[in-house]
Amino acid sequence: MPTRRAKIPATKYPIERFRLDNGLRVVLTPDRSAPVIGVAVVYDVGIRSEPEGRTGFAHLFEHLMFQGSENLEKLAHFRHVQGAGGTFNGSTHLDYTDYYETLPANALERALFLEADRMRGPRLTEENLRNQVDVVKEEIRVNVLNRPYGGFPWLTLPPVMFDTFPNAHDGYGSFDDLESATVADAADFFRRYYASGNAVLAVSGDIDVAEATTLIERHFGDVPARPAPARPDFTEPELTVERRHAYTDALAPLPAVAGAWRVPDPIDDFTGYLPYVVLAEVLTDGDASRLVERLVQRDRTVTGLGGYLSFMGDPFDVRDPTALLLQAHLPPGGDVDKVLGAIDEELDRLAADGLTDGELARTQARMATHLLRDTDAVLGRALRMAVLEQQRGEPGLLNELPRLVGEVTEEQVRAAAATLRPERRAAVEVIPGGAR
């Protein structure tokens, strides 16, 4: 008799959508359970869109958006957000760049003012540019160059898997390219990509929809209308022969390996894509998952393991082309080929024999918890809904995800596993240069 499955609950966050005359799309999702709000502005430009010779520019530009704007001096943005009791940040992804605040609810109008002001135009000065190039270089040093496994695998695997500049290049950027960036480059980048028609504003939390709508029209209504640029075609053919690359990490004490397989288009073929999201969890989520049982517990060929969709681990915020990734850290002297071989065996076994009783249902229940937990944070809802609006025109998908994940069938997961063949794989191996 099959195990009884936990009922997958859903959220019912209400959603209002509209578009201003200048093309700015707006998503409002009120929830009065705590006196806080999330404000997110997402621009449809990311690492894939930066020009050749300007690696790292999308991220550098994100920093410049905090350096003052039409009515705000340098430092003013930070002070106004934090002086209202809020927190802020921004982040650059493959397909989008986000700017956001979490604030007590009484700061709604202030946050809208701040975001509208920089949407009209940041203060792009030589001094601020040079300062932020220095800051970004320190960011790269602390996150990549001065630590073991820096950029593994999110920066080191794409150039193995992809051939074209947009998909393959280092999104943090080379120091040479960063230092070559000019104010004119920044002004062009802003004009082209930071258009009202290329942006989504989302506000979540303790808001009154009518009041928020009025305030949004007041502050964003006169942002000059500029259309969204045409999005280039980033597609690449799939691999038909396995690609492998190995590099020495001078600081890493132990070997590591990551493999990636292309997956269906997350936007155009969501139904085909979703089983891969579930498969990654079946393989790697916790002590009862397939690969942890096999590689960590039985073979002891791996000491740490992860599986996820998309190079930045944001399965519902990425466009095609993207991948399912598996990464493993190995014990001293560990054999990468053996690990990849065992992964292939486990994928074959899953494709051939299917799942055990209850294996899929328990994985789906756990995924529901993770999804719900992320949406409990007011900012999590604003950010996710903004990107879902931008990439799919469907912010309400956030409410549906636990259920949709729960409806993925065993047949779909088996079929997904069957496509993860070695000849479709790109893999990157870290050779430990820092072994003692």
Binding site: N71, L124, R141, A184, G304, R362, A377, R436
Partner: protein, 446 residues
Amino acid sequence: MTTTIVPATPRVLPPLGPTRKLKLPKQAERTLPNGLTVIAVRRPAVPLVELRLWMPFGRAHLARGAMLSQTLLSGTATHTATQIAAELQKVGGGLSAGIDPDRLMLSGAGLVTGLGRMLEILADVLTGATYPTEWVDTERDRLVDRIQVAQSQPAHLARTALLKRIYGRHPYAVQTPEPDQVRAVRPPVLRRLHAERVHPAGAVLVLVGDVQPERALDAAELALAGWRGDGQQIDLPPAPPLEPGPLLLVDRPGSVQSSLRIALPAVPRTHPDHAALQLANLLFGGYFSSRWTENIREDKGYTYGPHSTVEHSVAGSVLVASADVATEVTGPALLETTYELGRLATLMPKPDELEQARQYALGTLQLGMSTQAGLASLTSAYAGNGLRLDFLAEHAARLAKATVADVAEVAARYLAPAKAVTVVLGDADRVEGQLSALTPVRREPA
């Protein structure tokens, strides 16, 4: 060159709306006959429940404690580790164990419909963990590898050097065991340590989520009434006061950054100076709009993420300022740091600067309480230090009251650069000269 033309009529920053009063969520508390305190807090936003079990674990053997937390979930009389994980997954749940010199902590979250089941599994682990040999063997090797990886990370190395320098012979001085100590740990030792220390007396279980607090307490009592064992209470000695001295320079040849760590004295949450100290820390380096960040990041570009925090532990509190700076500007970064500390310790802050920090401190209290996970961690951290959520209101009132004079006085007392203990991890050959120009330096190999 400026490409944006500033408008002739500047737009005016809108004022803030009226501040909402801090509202505490509905909660209930019960101490069970076995000595376990259970606190349940209601936040029904999503149909989940967060769980935190704080167990006092001071003075435990370092390697054995680390191995115990690594293997606590590796099997019971009735379930293997895999079965434990699978049973938890069935209700959307998961548990993980962590340890520090104060406590052993089990944390997790799951669908609220599975609360009863999660508690049953928790009870099974607490009363019947078996530490099976094969699992312990595997986990021992994994822990050794993890420690080796940690020891290659500058953040870990800098932290290790700082703790040793601050705490001397106190149990807080060394918080990561050596691989050889871990290799010596065997299952019987773990079973004994579990029997001696994994006890309900003095422990606090926090449940937060879409629950009726009283019913959550009933569920906890039903599941955990059978957890027994009275250990004697083990207290940590008070943390020693900081002893300023030469800057400790730890060599990491080839490092492209220097990890700068500065410890300053601090006080526990309940101390009368605490609210003013928190504000003084914000002014110095505790948030982005601080003097330190605006100086060494936004003006000089020396670093990416400088920050300073008051860290509270059971045996004492300390203020730690951290920045990873480019090797070639290590001396200049220390100079600016000392300048900002000295300026705060000797000159009155401006009223609007304090007001900004105060709003940040009060606002982020609201933000911290606005998720189930945030509430659970806060409630548990408070409870581990003998406080309850209502302390939030008291703390907010103190933050609201602190004057410029209070903050200046506290800054002089705690943030003076003369009281600092400074550790720098970096390429010593390249930075020793720069640093020696500013302060006496004592050099050590990594």
